[in-house]
């Protein structure tokens, strides 16, 4: 683990000096993590998550010189991703909703990626249920629930990413979770 941290520090130093291989190595290391979080933030829209991942790493490359190493690189990347997500959402909220509606009616796109037709259908249904329940949450609650419950980040890390107090994270988290629990407890207790 220590070796990993050290090698990451070396990679960051090299990348900050303009070494393309080091940059590629860092992107390779974090792109799955960021993509998974992006997928959750983008309400399970794979294409939007790809765009957000791309945007996050573009910003990572342009702002790399300014990275002070006060936070971990993953926290810094999450911070960029959330910022880009909020920016993008403001910019293209209506467009996304429109595209999603079209996808919801034509089906197929995501299902094609799933291992089996039945599994895909159940997965899709579950995602639909989750998104519907999430509609009751405020924007802050949604964001925090996605980062904490879906992505599994620590409360301390979320506070750092969003630049707010841990106590504030907990308040939004408990309220959001309560709303989800009230709507989804039956589903949660179902088998499978």
């Amino acid at each position: 683990m220590k070796g990993n941290i050290k090698s990451e520090e070396i990679l960051i130093d090299l990348a900050q000096k303009g070494d393309d291989e080091a940059k590629a190595e860092l992107i390779k290391k974090y792109q799955n993590l960021i993509f998974r979080a992006a997928y959750r933030l983008c309400d399970f829209d794979r294409e939007a998550a790809m765009d957000l991942t791309q945007e996050t790493f573009l910003k990572f490359l342009t702002e790399l010189e300014n990275f002070q190493k006060r936070a971990s690189l993953s926290t810094w990347l999450y911070r960029i991703m959330v910022r880009e997500f909020l920016k993008e959402r403001r910019k293209a909220n209506l467009f996304r909703k429109f595209v999603k509606k079209i996808r919801a009616t034509d089906g197929g796109f995501h299902n094609a990626l799933e291992p089996s037709q039945l599994g895909a259908l159940l997965h899709k249904e579950a995602q639909h249920k989750i998104l519907k329940a999430m509609e009751k949450l405020s924007d802050k609650q949604k964001l925090i629930v996605k980062l904490k419950v879906f992505q599994g980040l620590k409360i301390k890390e979320i506070a750092e990413i969003l630049g707010i107090k841990e106590g504030t994270v907990k308040v939004h988290l408990f309220r959001g979770l309560k709303l989800l629990r009230n709507q989804l407890s039956d589903w949660a207790e179902e088998n499978g």
Partner: protein
């Protein structure tokens, strides 16, 4: 979360954060409190399902490559080149205008050379190869050798071409211009 218990918040934190300072205490409470015990069951199951169904399929190789390829088209570099271009753009445009003006003036002042105006493409080719043709003596020698000594086919072909070229030159030279 319907029923109340003073420990409920700690139970939720335990499920979410997976480690707590007073974890033992909370776990012991869950064993004896039906409210917290049920809450732990429901929430654990809910969180596990939320994580499961929000997990994307792993990135495919092409998606992975797509993101990594960003490094080659990283905007910082392209921005710099655009900036440089925008600085040099007016200078470049000015230079092109000057060159065009000079070119036009030169063309206007330069009347066509009478001896070259009516030349056929073949004549022009001969003029272009004049330096080579000035070595006619050498060519002549080569042709003579070719006639005397049997050569490989390729060499014979080359020499035959030289011969034809020379006779053409002599013919054109006689009729069109003086060397």
């Amino acid at each position: 979360m319907g029923e109340k218990c003073a420990y409920l918040e700690k139970v939720i934190l335990l499920i979410l954060e997976e480690d707590l300072r007073d974890m033992e205490d909370v776990l012991n409470h869950i064993k004896i409190c039906p409210v917290c015990s049920r809450e732990k069951k429901v929430l654990s199951s809910l969180i596990s399902k939320l994580r499961e169904h929000s997990e994307p399929q792993p990135l495919t190789l092409s998606e992975f490559t797509h993101i990594t390829s960003l490094i080659k088209t990283h905007p910082k570099k392209s921005k710099r080149s655009v900036q440089n271009f925008s600085i040099f753009k007016p200078i470049l445009a000015f230079a092109i205008v000057i060159l065009l003006l000079l070119g036009t003036l030169l063309l206007m002042n330069r009347g066509p050379k009478p001896s070259l105006v009516n030349l056929t493409p073949e004549d022009k080719e001969v003029i272009e190869k004049l330096d080579l043709l000035r070595e006619l003596n050498t060519l002549e020698k080569l042709v003579n050798i070719a006639h005397q000594v049997p050569e490989k086919r390729s060499q014979r072909t080359i020499l035959r071409r030289f011969t034809v070229f020379r006779s053409n030159f002599e013919y054109k030279g006689r009729n069109n211009f003086h060397v």
